[in-house]
């Protein structure tokens, strides 16, 4: 498989995964905050393609758990009342990308029935819906922070590499300062500086900007390196000889050569920042209830009884692994592709 094919494959998978998350409202049967106090820790709902008499069904059905009330851990189903799974049903209202309002869901079951594809949490909230909606927050965190880091990196690295001299020295020493800091600790220190009781969205934006701001040093270094070698290329020197201004040289000749590094850095930084957000939230320092994020989905595992009794609480974690695999594959392929282009 060539690197190009690998890259295309990874990008297609990535796009598919991201569209699931972007259109979380459509793919999720419930709202992320809808509680069902009667069904805490319900195990994942099984889809039945055959009814009790062994006839094959065109439309899969589900059965509710037998008995109501806080029947923790009960897995007996009430097979008397099948609830067929309907597609394109009207349900809880949601917004796509915060703009387009709708209440159309890909699938769902009629009211007394409950479909929990990944089980439910302590408050009887659908884990599958929370995973999809949580992805919006976690991925957004990764994206914003990575864009921030890379933009600062390109400004600082570009200036340092292009102008050199004491400017370069100063900026890179500053970068060393940020590299020398244990970044998770620094993130914590900054988190300690933030007030504990501010609105969730403010907290989210603050955290994300802090993550992005701390991480500028590494992309800046890499971009500086590329700029350093780029500005000595003959065509750049020639353009300078023809009297091109610094701004023109940077924009037209030098910075375009950094795009490969930039893209690779983005694909590496996004999963890293997603993980940072997940870690912070897991430790109770990030975005809190009722907003779901992948970190808060996992944080319930810190309780022993959840960890040992409800295996489906692990499902969100397992879905993260292929996502990261795709990201790293894309980064790998980009790196190789970029190497073969420049050589």
């Amino acid at each position: 498989m060539t690197h190009k094919q690998k890259l295309v494959g990874a990008l297609v998978l990535l796009a598919a995964f991201q569209s699931f998350i972007l259109f979380a409202g459509f793919f999720a049967p419930y709202d992320f905050a809808t509680q069902d106090r009667e069904r805490p820790f319900a195990p994942p709902t099984t889809l039945h393609f055959m009814d009790a008499r062994g006839n094959v069904l065109i439309r899969p059905v589900i059965y509710n758990l037998a008995g109501s009330g806080p029947s923790v851990g009960v897995s007996q189903t009430d097979s008397e009342h099948p609830y067929p799974v309907h597609f394109f049903v009207r349900g809880a209202p949601y917004k796509i990308a915060g703009v387009f309002a709708s209440n159309m869901h890909l699938f769902g079951v009629e009211a007394p029935g409950h479909i929990f594809l990944m089980g439910s949490d302590a408050y009887g909230r659908d884990q599958f819906s929370r995973f999809l909606f949580g992805g919006q927050i976690s991925m957004l965190a990764g994206l914003i922070a990575a864009i921030l880091s890379v933009s600062i990196g390109i400004i600082v690295g570009g200036i340092a590499g292009f102008y050199g001299g004491w400017v370069d020295e100063l900026l890179m020493r500053g970068g060393e300062l940020f590299l020398a800091l244990p970044w998770l600790y620094l993130l914590f220190a900054v988190r300690a500086a933030l007030p504990l009781h501010i609105s969730q969205w403010e907290l989210f934006l603050l955290l994300v900007s802090v993550m992005g701001l701390i991480g500028w040093a590494r992309p800046a270094r890499l971009i500086r390196g590329v700029v350093l070698s780029a500005k000595q290329r003959n065509f750049v020197v020639a353009a300078r000889g023809f009297g091109a201004s610094d701004a023109y040289l940077l924009r037209r000749h030098v910075l375009p050569q950094t795009y490969g590094v930039l893209l690779t850095q983005m694909t590496l930084l996004i999963p890293q920042y997603v993980l940072a957000e997940v870690t912070l939230t897991f430790l109770g320092l990030g975005v809190g209830e009722p907003l779901p994020s992948w970190g808060s989905l996992l944080s319930s595992l810190q309780q022993y009884y959840v960890l040992s009794s409800y295996w489906w609480m692990f499902l969100p974690a397992l879905f993260l692994i292929p996502l990261f695999l795709v990201f790293y594959t894309a980064a790998d392929a980009l790196q190789e592709l970029h190497k073969s282009v420049t050589l």
């Binding site: 800091l181 300690a192 500086a193 993980l275 022993y304 397992l318 692994i321 790293y328």
Partner: protein
């Protein structure tokens, strides 16, 4: 000698920068440890003001930094509000625990990584190398958080390992040998987890460093002279491949305090990690400062150590 002095100077400057940066960030925070006390109607505002001035929280920032820096140079990291004791002994115990954990896991990871990495490099492209590559890639994609949670689940479900803490409840009654055994039992799971988490990176570095060297002409020459393969690998190739590994080793020495935060929190090892998280939630600023500073000192010292080792080991750097 001049090189050493310059590196040392840089390192000190760097630490000073780190301390100012984190001090400013922390002290700019709205509210402090005593702010919640104001909400308590049973505590008069005079008491709170008194407490704040007792700990010097009412003085301007540069003054506080000066005081703090002077105290730190004398080995006093300031008071912990939550524990009502000085930070230094508190951190000392936690640091010891953390280093016990990270030291063990580092040893484990390096002992595994070097021979495995050499093996992969020698059998490059064969099935062993491919399998190794697949396993390391797979391990790299598993987030540490998930890995540690799975280990915790393993411990809880099987009962083979104690879950959490560093010693059993009956630790005080045990004799010396049993004490060591007890700690080792508690240590195994977190150390193993951390080693697994760091192993892939190390393995990849060892492998790529070795591959680069094995392609060099002098290795072919050595082989052509009929020198035994084992000797070629260990005596000729490894020392040349060591430079990037020494930097990496210095870096992993440097992260000894900060790498284990997650594993400590999840598997409740009483190291610096849990202390730091608690301190942050309680706004116990001097504990946070102490932990951040200590881990930065380690990082800087680790990098410095690596530079000096490289200077000693690699003649190319000496010439420059």
């Amino acid at each position: 000698m001049k090189y050493c002095a310059r590196r040392l100077f840089h390192a000190t400057l760097l630490l000073l920068g780190v301390s100012i940066l984190s001090f400013v960030i922390l002290q700019l925070a709205p509210g402090d440890f005593f702010s919640p006390l104001r909400l308590n109607p049973q505590i008069s505002s005079r008491t709170v003001t008194g407490l704040r001035s007792q700990y010097g929280l009412d003085r301007p920032l540069p003054v506080r930094y000066g005081h703090w820096l002077r105290a730190v140079l004398q080995g006093d990291l300031g008071p912990s509000f939550a524990y009502n004791s000085p930070v230094t002994p508190l951190l000392a115990i936690r640091t010891r625990n953390t280093i016990l954990l990270t030291g063990t896991s580092m040893l484990l990871a390096w002992i595994l990584a070097i021979p495995l990495g050499i093996c992969c490099a020698v059998h490059r492209g064969k099935w062993g190398d491919r399998a190794g590559g697949a396993v390391t890639s797979a391990l790299l994609t598993v987030p540490d958080l998930v890995l540690f949670l799975v280990l915790l689940l393993l411990a809880v479900r099987t009962g083979w390992f104690p879950t959490g803490g560093m010693v059993s409840a009956s630790f005080g009654d045990l004799n010396l040998w049993n004490k060591v055994k007890d700690i080792a039992e508690h240590l195994f799971l977190p150390a193993f987890g951390l080693a697994i988490a760091t192993l892939p990176t190390l393995l990849r570095h060892v492998r790529s460093a070795m591959i680069e060297v094995l392609e060099a002409p002098f290795i072919r020459a050595a082989r052509a002279h009929g020198i035994a393969e084992r000797r070629v690998l260990l005596r000729y190739a490894l020392p040349v491949a060591a430079s990037p590994l020494i930097s990496l080793f210095g870096f992993s020495l440097g992260t000894m305090l900060s790498a284990s935060l997650l594993v400590e929190v999840i598997l409740s090892w009483p190291g610096i990690g849990p202390l730091l998280v608690e301190a942050i939630l309680a706004k116990d600023v001097y504990v946070v400062m102490g932990a951040v500073m200590l881990s930065s000192v380690f990082l800087v010292a680790g990098n410095l150590f690596a530079d000096l080792m490289l200077f000693a080991a690699d003649p190319r750097i000496r010439v420059e």
